[in-house]
Symmetry: D2
Subunit: 138 residues, 4 copies
Amino acid sequence: MSQLLDHGRAVLQSQPFSRHLGAELTVFEPGRAELALTVADHHRQQHGFVHGGVLAYLADNSLTYAGGSVLGDCLTAEFKINYTRPARGERLVARARVASAGKRLAVCTCEIVALADGEETVVAIAQGSIARIEAGKD
Amino acid sequence: MSQLLDHGRAVLQSQPFSRHLGAELTVFEPGRAELALTVADHHRQQHGFVHGGVLAYLADNSLTYAGGSVLGDCLTAEFKINYTRPARGERLVARARVASAGKRLAVCTCEIVALADGEETVVAIAQGSIARIEAGKD
Amino acid sequence: MSQLLDHGRAVLQSQPFSRHLGAELTVFEPGRAELALTVADHHRQQHGFVHGGVLAYLADNSLTYAGGSVLGDCLTAEFKINYTRPARGERLVARARVASAGKRLAVCTCEIVALADGEETVVAIAQGSIARIEAGKD
Amino acid sequence: MSQLLDHGRAVLQSQPFSRHLGAELTVFEPGRAELALTVADHHRQQHGFVHGGVLAYLADNSLTYAGGSVLGDCLTAEFKINYTRPARGERLVARARVASAGKRLAVCTCEIVALADGEETVVAIAQGSIARIEAGKD
């Protein structure tokens, strides 16, 4: 396992909310990050699909990781998500990548797929900006 | 308590993810909805602030409720969130309202505030579109 | 006329694209800006409504002005726009305000209305982040 | 030239605003559309770069075309744009594609590049939803 992935997993474990949801960091390399989640009952909404809030969490956090892979310690300044299909299946994977990066800001995109019976369906796509955390930042 | 609020709370209780996070529906009336959350340790990220994913959940779900207050059974098609301040404090409140509504689609906005020691701070604002669920919809 | 409005109008006149479209700055004060446009044939799309690109320009530029009213020289880093109604009428007005501001970044929102026969219709709403231009910024 | 591209160009010519800006449709095939623009002085802002409103127009319209390539007559319901670099150069190209499509709605993404001295720079990326125009739509 790479040192970067090792470090990323340690950060994820230090996020109580990510542990509460059961997120796993499966890829973390310069320009790219992947978060996965094994779907459990407590991730669902009233119709049995995965709640949009779970997808929004995966978008937010995978975008932050993608940005962080090139910027270091950072946070998501903003993002936008389009839900494309109801999310069902056993597992969700959020694949984020850096579309453009400067010294302090990276614009990243993310695709979230649901895996059901070995088939992948795109359930959401997202786009956002990730800002490096700076000493003295307002 | 109004019948609409009563109904909205029953729907929220039927969302396992909302129960998992501890969300409460505090306002639900035509054109307006408010979700609240008492902050617990499992809502946090590694720096002790509330995780952006929790705010994204509150945005997503309060926008859906605002849209649902005029459209009936519906879902969030997409939304965008800007994080404005680190979220700390005891409680979060997401206030959503309908900005414009047709028969099948409502555009809604939301402001999320954190309450700490009796002071309110805006920690995120969001905007999105909510679509009515229709029989036979693709 | 205030000095700030005076200055803002001089900047607008120095934007060839804003002159090309015929935009006017009608309000510019701390935390708030308003751009207006008298609709002409060259602003339309194929169905006779104002083209979404004109509304997107008004959103982009009014958000920049709102942010600039508190940050000084700045640019729009990103924004999101929802079109709410077809835009018809004689005049468009984009009203933008600062929702939250730090030293380097402001999050702003905007509502665009169309005026037809003395009636106002909200035709789009937008939300975005405005960044201060800094020497040496990447 | 394909019939679809032929049709798309006729639609573009019937948009007075697109003619006013000088946009050209260079690709239009199922799932994909490309708009281009030769940069002129009237496209600029006060620092000499292409105005963000021009990029927002290109995003809006190329997303609509991408969606229209699979949905037929349609309009952009909403979109989000991140500006990644100042836009300079002789020509802009907006490349849009369908990320996911149903019968009535398509989610599309777009990348806008500026060409200067034979080099391409990504100056903006966008994401939005395109809705089919229906008889009786509210």
